[in-house]
């Protein structure tokens, strides 16, 4: 059974434009699967549908067509079963900013059934593991740097031991050192816990380092999904960036006009 199985997935959004309702296909017939323990990176511009894909798998968006399954559970019909298996780290750290790292982690752990005693033991362990100084665990999140906040976000995801980790631009905006630390931890997670990872990014080097296969998502369509070397070979490109340019006709850092959630 694949860890993730997506078949012909369609997600539509509508908005008002000059008194007309305009529908946008944020995901337009996306199909792929991810094996257990595999890391798949999805490259795409802003607005290409990467975050929409992650949100559908995280049961945060309901899709209009096709289906998506996580370890055999349909994300729309069996959302509670999916939620036990999945966690996510996104580009925004998303915490109660006045609460401390320890407080944010404590209540989040409780949502996944961790008892108070187990949480007290696990929180310092997991913070240390992601390179967060335990002495700062009592400080409000708003007093921590963006890199520190992102480490706490990683700790929150890992505290619940997810078998599928959804990473939506987890290192965007981090300084080079923090970025390397977070990437190293993601790689360790996979090795140590056999975690399946779907990584959405527009960082080519990150995709190349972390992923077994790299996909190109453009305007809601998955144009290719292959190991990095095969992807470069397919487009006769020297780098993933050139491959992306050849596949889409645009550079990765261009903003797609299509607005996706």
């Amino acid at each position: 059974m694949p860890a993730v199985e997506i078949v012909d997935l369609v997600k539509l959004f509508s908005r008002r434009e000059h008194r007309r309702r305009v529908r946008t296909r944020a995901l337009d017939g996306v199909s792929f699967s991810v094996a257990r323990g595999e890391c798949v990176a999805v490259l795409g511009q802003n607005g290409s549908g990467k975050s929409t894909l992650v949100r559908v798998l995280a049961t945060l968006l309901l899709h209009e067509g096709g289906h998506a399954r996580v370890f055999g559970h349909d994300v729309a019909r069996e959302d509670r079963a999916v939620r036990r298996l999945v966690n996510r780290v996104s580009v925004e750290a998303s915490f109660f900013k006045r609460l401390s790292a320890a407080e944010n982690l404590a209540y989040a752990a409780r949502f996944y059934g961790l008892t108070p005693g187990r949480t007290r033991r696990r929180v310092p362990e997991i913070l240390t593991a992601v390179g967060f100084p335990a002495r700062r665990a009592g400080e409000p999140m708003e007093e921590l740097s963006r890199g520190m906040q992102q480490k706490v976000a990683l700790a929150r995801a890992l505290l619940t031991a997810p078998v599928l980790l959804l990473l939506d631009e987890p290192t965007t905006g981090l300084d080079p050192r923090s970025k390397r630390e977070v990437q190293a931890f993601i790689a360790d997670m996979r090795t140590a816990h056999d975690t399946t990872t779907v990584l959405c990014t527009h960082d080519m080097a990150e995709a190349e380092v972390l992923a077994d296969r790299v996909g190109i998502l453009d305007r809601g369509r998955l144009l290719a999904l292959e190991p990095p070397a095969a992807l470069r070979a397919r487009y006769g490109a020297a780098s993933l960036e050139d491959a992306f340019l050849a596949a889409t006709g645009r550079a990765l850092d261009d903003e797609d006009e299509q607005e996706a959630a």
Binding site: L61, L62, S94, F96, A106, Y107, F111
Partner: protein, 273 residues
């Protein structure tokens, strides 16, 4: 781990989270408490004002009557605010996606917030009542506070159910949804005789009063505090509250789930900006 145990721990987590938030915003909580006292005094002084203006009334009784109305207003405000504002706050901070992604059931999520709201509301309301009663030197020797608390507990269930309905508003309208919760609070209390007997209202408002849990809470608590009525004497107010609780909580959950599906269909959980 059994599913029931997981949900029980998750419920504790929701209560714990809201307790952390109150603790971290302790000075703000104190400021709001002072504001609530001031607001309550503006209402409760009316009884003395009427007497000073030449009116004849039992000032002590009327002051207590108004105080109970103001205290229930405050309590309902706390319950609605915690349920509605927490959802709005979570959406603003972006944590709503992580809460909705966690395997706790929506019933546990909302009942957890409701449990905290009731516990916190009872403490705040009791303090408010005590402070204002002391301020006016009210003689409350005959009051049956245990029965008043029983009525408040019974009323809390339908209040939480209605609060679940208002809690969905920030999901549908992130900008103005939370404010709509205040409108619901005002509408509910205005038809329930918050500072006056229901009988003084027009017939159509009296009809609405019969389906409002606040009507029975106010009536029963006034009977318990002003006249020392026991549980048997307030049964006529108690049983409608129990029936309304049985209806309001499943209804609130169903409305919230519908709103959640709408938000997930239209991408409304995501914070913008």
């Amino acid at each position: 781990m059994g599913a029931a145990r997981l949900q029980a721990i998750a419920l504790l987590g929701v209560v714990e989270r809201n307790a952390y938030l109150v603790k971290r915003y302790g000075w703000w909580e104190l400021a709001f408490f002072v504001w609530t006292i001031a607001n309550t005094l503006t209402v409760v002084f009316i009884a003395e004002g009427v007497e000073a203006g030449g009116g004849t009334l039992d000032v002590e009784r009327q002051t207590t009557y108004l105080l109970i109305g103001a205290v229930i207003w405050s309590y309902l405000g706390i319950v609605f605010e915690i349920l509605t504002e927490t959802v709005a706050w979570e959406r603003w901070e972006g944590t709503i996606e992580y809460t909705f992604m966690a395997p706790l059931s929506r019933a546990v999520h909302l009942l957890g917030m409701g449990t905290f709201a009731v516990l916190y509301g009872v403490v705040r309301t009791a303090l408010l009542f005590a402070v204002v009663a002391l301020f006016f030197g009210l003689e409350l020797d005959q009051a049956d506070f245990a029965t008043a608390l029983l009525l408040l507990a019974a009323a809390s269930v339908p209040f939480v159910g209605i609060g679940m309905v208002t809690a969905v508003l920030p999901l549908i309208s992130p900008e103005k949804g939370a404010q709509l919760g205040f409108i619901a609070q005002g509408m509910l209390l205005v038809v329930s005789g918050v500072y006056y007997p229901v009988e003084v209202m027009p017939g159509w408002m009296q009809a609405l009063a019969t389906v409002s849990p606040a009507t029975y809470a106010l009536d029963g608590i006034r009977a318990a505090v002003l006249d020392g009525a026991g549980p048997g004497a307030v049964w006529g107010d108690l049983w409608p509250l129990l029936v309304m609780g049985v209806v309001a909580v499943p209804l609130g959950l169903a409305v919230f789930r519908t709103g959640e599906r709408y938000a997930k269909r239209h991408g409304k959980l995501k914070r913008a900006g």
